[in-house]
């Protein structure tokens, strides 16, 4: 049969990872459907699929596809890898978690995969249509993954909350898009770029559209004041999912945002839209860090810290330059390593998942399970941005970018808030090493998978923290690919 010229040859391996993941997902569904006895094998299979997908990135060659609506470039590949990394870590942790909770099943991993596909679409789409489609695919998967622990009331409640807010936010995203469409006569980024090059920045309708769009995406980023759902959902979701959820969707959304912002120059600055971004980042840093202090539930605490971290990432986004893209990229990758690591350790606490996993549950862990202790400590110090961990490099990069582009004031806010943040990260270490272990439940020894995951994140944190150069080169190249 003959294909329309719009469908270039080679589109097949352009979207190879997506195809592999989609197919892999279906495969797993069938596998669990027909071989329910072999539930144990699903995780390894999923791992293989993810790894294959990651490898397939090599086969992918860059370029624009599907009528210039789909871009494969250095940055999309770097982000693909990030998504896959997040998924792999989540899988590794999930294995033992699901086993312990007796809710194993291929669907879990299938949904992870499809969610990843959705994120890939968000990262690569040059057309808001595709971005939104990816966004929705992702959302659907998240709804389900969050509610995956069906027996748990909180899990169900979490998915309810996420679903309602998600649907609500989608409405805003769509309406914003529609209004932009009205202005630009297209939802392609290039069209927007062309339009905004000469747009009248005073048109309030555009501003409204922007606010609607950004708030809708801000929901995915869990940036204040659109963060309401985050703590509850993280608490309710299965820990591995929470870890993944706190990282991957944000990454996807951020890169989509970069494209959007970039296509809106110079109105983005003229119409003071950057101010909104700044406001969001400041609010997130302040609220996130302040409230995190008040949390005793680890997952909620991490949720708030996550809100704060998005605030830091947005600092870099203020100036849409290759520098800032690189900074965000580095931050996202780092954040993936350390946050999923932290959630992973939490997921190891064999506690009734319906009860909050509080600080007391990790008391004395540092000496009872040195490996967990070490891992969590490293993650915490990386999150609080202390050298020589990756967290420091990332924060440093962000602040540097901010100063570099004249946002010293906001960088100062960032600094002050991270002083606050040190307190609650430190408190975790304090519970780990300086509290007597509570009588009662025993923390299981990490199995092969979790150990591997923790090892990956620890090593990653230190490697990035001590030899960041290669990553910088990659990020730099990627950023350049995005904003030439």
């Amino acid at each position: 049969m003959t294909l329309h010229p719009l469908i270039e040859s080679g589109w097949m391996n352009a979207v190879l990872p997506e195809l592999i993941l989609s197919a892999g997902g279906m495969l797993l569904i069938l596998w669990t459907a027909f071989a329910p006895k072999l539930k144990g094998t699903t995780a390894p299979l999923a791992l293989i699929v993810f790894i294959v997908a990651a490898l397939s990135e090599n086969a992918v060659k860059g370029g624009n596809f599907f009528g210039g609506t789909y871009q494969i470039s250095a940055i999309t590949q770097l982000f693909d890898i990030t998504f896959l990394l997040a998924a792999i870590l989540a899988t590794l942790f999930a294995r033992e978690y699901l086993e312990r909770e007796g809710i194993e099943g291929g669907e879990f991993y299938a949904l992870l995969m499809w969610g990843t596909v959705g994120m890939m679409m968000m990262a690569k789409g040059l057309d808001l249509l595709i971005v939104i489609l990816g966004l929705e695919t992702l959302s659907i998967c998240i709804f389900v993954l969050v509610g995956y622990h069906r027996r748990l009331p909180i899990s169900n409640e979490a998915s309810l909350k996420y679903f309602l807010m998600g649907a609500f936010a989608t409405g805003f995203v769509l309406y914003g898009t529609a209004l932009f469409y009205g202005a630009t006569q297209s939802t392609k980024f290039e069209a927007m770029t062309r339009y905004f090059a000469t747009a009248d920045a005073t048109n309030p309708l555009l501003t409204v559209a922007f606010v609607l769009l950004l708030s809708g995406l801000g929901f995915k980023l869990a940036v204040a004041p659109f963060h309401g759902w985050a703590p509850d959902v993280y608490q309710g979701a299965p820990s591995p999912v929470a870890g993944w959820l706190s990282v991957a969707p944000k990454a996807a959304t951020l890169i989509a945002l970069v494209r959007i912002f970039a296509s809106m120059m110079p109105t983005f600055h003229l119409a003071r839209w950057s101010t909104m971004v700044a406001a969001l980042s400041v609010l997130s840093m302040v609220i996130g860090n302040a409230v995190a202090i008040a949390q005793r539930d680890l997952k909620r605490m991490l949720a708030y810290s996550g809100i704060a971290h998005v605030g830091y990432m947005l600092i870099a986004m203020l100036s849409v330059r290759d520098q800032s893209v690189a900074a965000v990229t580095v931050y996202v990758i780092t954040y993936a390593l350390m946050n999923i690591g932290a959630f992973g350790v939490v997921s190891m606490l064999a506690k009734n998942q319906n009860d909050p996993q509080t600080l007391d549950d990790i008391a004395g862990l540092g000496f009872r399970r040195p490996f967990y202790g070490l891992a969590l400590t490293i993650c915490m110090f990386s999150l609080s941005g202390l050298p020589p961990t990756a967290g420091f490099i990332a924060k440093f990069y962000v602040f540097k970018t901010a100063v570099d582009s004249g946002y010293t004031g906001i960088a100062l806010v960032g600094i002050l808030t991270s002083i606050v943040s040190v307190y609650y990260y430190l408190r975790v270490v304090y519970y780990l090493y300086m509290k007597e272990a509570p009588e009662g439940y025993a923390v299981p020894v990490a199995g092969m998978f979790a150990t591997g995951a923790l090892a990956i994140s620890m090593v990653g944190i230190f490697v990035i923290g001590i030899f960041p150069t290669p990553l910088f080169e990659m990020a730099g190249a990627a950023a350049h690919a995005l904003l030439p």
Partner: protein
């Protein structure tokens, strides 16, 4: 030998190290041997060096033996270098030989003390530091010895560390001295800043050629005098010396009578060039000296602790020395320093022997009639008393007399000089009075102590009496080195007091004044003796009821000076410190805690935005949207 001057202080230091490390196990004979060697060697070496010195510099130029560069930094260069000149030689002789004698004496006195080794280690250390003090060729090195002897006096006063008063006294001594050293330090900073050096030679040279302003010189001199006042127990810093009697008696004799406490006098004499260029400072010195002399003497007449009496007499005598250096009679000051070393050492050792005999009893009210119980002690004590009272032809007769005469005749500030002379003369009267009171109450009348004390009474061993005899003799004849008009000492010290353009050098006292003054002071002294004799020889303690009770109590309590200091300085300071700690620190911490608390509170409040109700989240979301639209569009 002259290039090995550093051996002189080193020898006793070696003694200190050896005794300090091995003394405890080695046993008494060993310790004694080391200690005596450690004190005899510097004496001999010093003498040899002195003789050689005559050879190399007949005209008394200073001989400096540089050992090594100590501190070199920026424009601060300090060397470890020792010097000989007439003045330091005089000091050297006094310190080493008296020191040796007292070592000998101590061997007997401390014989039964379990801290024997410790004692001698300290004593040797003291000797070496004292030698550094007097041989040092710069103010800095002098300061090293200065602090060193301070440390030793601290250790030795607190020697009986198991009591609670002795360590306290030691601490008091050290701290008060530190207050003086504060002045000394600042003076040195000034010298470094404006003379660029603290070497005696350079400093006086630059000063002599008018390299610096008089006001600066005055400042330096006053600050130096602050140091001297601390070390030599002058008003207002004398308070530590009486308490220092808590130490073993030989220590009081060596450190708190003969040597260390005179360091201040030595220092002023050493800096005579600076002082002569700053008459204002000299006047202060003289007046303070006079006041101290009188003040301490008054206290002396109403003390019952034999050592306390001697202590106040020491303070008073030091006052005399400062009168001397203050009015410009530096040689006279040094002269009195020497004679005082003899008779005061003798008196202290005598009192030590008495105490030894009394089995540790120091209260003269328990004594009396000891003259035939411990004849040798009695005899020597008598001589020394005669000397200190300034009765004719004994040591202090010449020295004190010369001081008073020069005070009268001083060319620097004639009128004030007369006034100072008056103070001195009255003080001299009291001196005779309280010394003879002490003498009579102790040795005459009949024994007032308990029976076992009386039974225990015995003359001290020769190791103690021999030094007594020597020092007693010296306190009779020691004055001969400074007979008026043909004054050997003056001639000897003359090079130390260089000629400066239109600044007075040695004071010329007309013979007539000399004689009249001498006559007056002699009469005064005799009067004092006579009164004491009349009241105390027979009536003994009853004689002590002659003062109005109020005055008596005041004197007994030393004019309540300690109490006043305590109330005006110590307590307030303590209160302030406590306030700083409990108050300021608390406030700082409080503020920071408050800050942290506010942040935490905000977090705690904000977290109630998290109602758990998804519709509130939606509202929050929508509110955000609306507000942004409002603000931006």
């Amino acid at each position: 030998m002259l290039n090995l001057l550093w051996l002189i202080p080193l020898a006793p230091f070696a003694g200190f190290v050896i005794n300090g490390l091995f003394g405890k196990r080695a046993g008494k004979p060993f310790v004694t041997a080391v200690a005596l060697l450690g004190s005899l060697t510097p004496a001999i070496l010093g003498t040899v060096a002195a003789i050689q010195y005559r050879g190399v510099s007949p005209h008394g130029e200073r001989w400096v033996n540089v050992v090594y560069d100590w501190i070199t930094s920026g424009n601060i260069g300090a060397q470890v270098a020792f010097q000989l000149d007439p003045l330091s030689i005089v000091m050297l002789m006094v310190v080493t030989w008296v020191g040796f004698l007292i070592h000998v004496y101590s061997a007997g006195y401390m014989h039964d003390d379990e801290g024997y080794w410790r004692y001698f280690a300290y004593l040797n250390l003291f000797l070496s530091e004292m030698l550094v003090l007097i041989l040092g060729s710069s103010y800095l090195l002098m300061f090293v010895g200065w602090e060193g002897v301070g440390l030793c006096s601290y250790l030795l006063i607190g020697f009986y560390y198991k009591t609670d008063y002795a360590p306290a006294a030691g601490k008091k001594a050290f701290v008060v001295n530190r207050i003086g050293d504060f002045g000394f330090l600042i003076a040195m900073f000034l010298m470094f800043a404006y003379f660029g050096s603290v070497d005696f030679g350079k400093v006086s040279q630059i000063a002599a050629v008018g390299g610096v302003t008089p006001s600066l010189l005055t400042a330096i001199c006053l600050l130096l005098f602050l140091g001297a006042a601390g070390k030599s127990a002058q008003i207002p810093l004398y308070v530590w010396l009486p308490d220092a009697m808590a130490g073993p008696t030989p220590v009081s004799a060596l450190i708190h009578a003969a040597t260390m406490v005179t360091a201040g006098v030595y220092m002023v004499a050493r800096s005579n060039v600076l002082y002569r260029l700053a008459p204002g400072a000299m006047m202060v010195v003289a007046i303070i000296g006079g006041l101290t002399a009188l003040f301490a003497a008054t206290i002396g007449i109403r003390q019952f602790d034999i050592k306390k009496v001697l202590a106040y007499s020491t303070v008073s005598q030091l006052g005399f020395m400062f009168i001397a250096v203050g009015v410009g009679a530096f040689t006279a000051g040094v002269f009195h320093l020497v004679t005082h070393a003899f008779f005061k050492a003798c008196l202290f050792l005598g009192s030590g022997s008495v105490i030894h005999a009394m089995g540790g009893e120091q209260d003269i009210r328990k004594m009396g009639g000891l003259r035939d119980k411990i004849p040798q002690t009695f005899r020597t004590f008598q001589w020394a008393t005669y000397a200190i009272a300034g009765l004719p032809l004994a040591a202090a007769f010449f020295s004190k007399d010369e001081i008073l005469a020069s005070a009268w005749a001083t060319p620097y500030f004639p009128t004030v000089g007369k006034f100072v002379w008056l103070l001195g003369t009255i003080a001299a009267f009291f001196t005779a009075l309280y010394m003879y009171r002490l003498y009579y109450l102790t040795f005459h009348g009949k024994f007032r102590g308990t029976h076992e004390q009386e039974h225990h009474l015995h003359e001290s061993p020769p190791s103690m009496t021999v030094p007594l005899w020597i020092l007693g003799g010296l306190s009779l004849v020691g004055g001969l080195i400074g007979i008026p008009q043909r004054n050997w000492l003056e001639g000897w010290l003359h090079p130390v007091i260089p000629h400066i353009e239109n600044v007075h050098g040695l004071i010329e006292i007309p013979e007539t004044t000399e004689i009249t003054i001498a006559a007056v002071s002699t009469l005064i002294a005799i009067l004092g003796w006579w009164i004491a004799r009349a009241r105390f020889k027979e009536r003994q303690l009853e004689g002590d009821t002659w003062l109005a009770p109020g005055l008596a109590r005041t004197l007994e309590n030393k004019w309540y000076v300690d109490e006043i200091y305590d109330a005006t300085v110590v307590r307030p300071l303590e209160r302030i410190s406590t306030f700083l700690w409990r108050g300021i620190d608390a406030v700082i911490d409080g503020l920071l805690a408050l800050l942290g608390y506010i942040v935490a509170a905000c977090g705690d409040l904000l977290r109630f935005l998290q109602t758990g109700n998804v519709r509130n989240y939606a509202l929050m979301f929508f509110a955000g949207v609306v507000i942004f639209i409002w603000v931006l569009a």
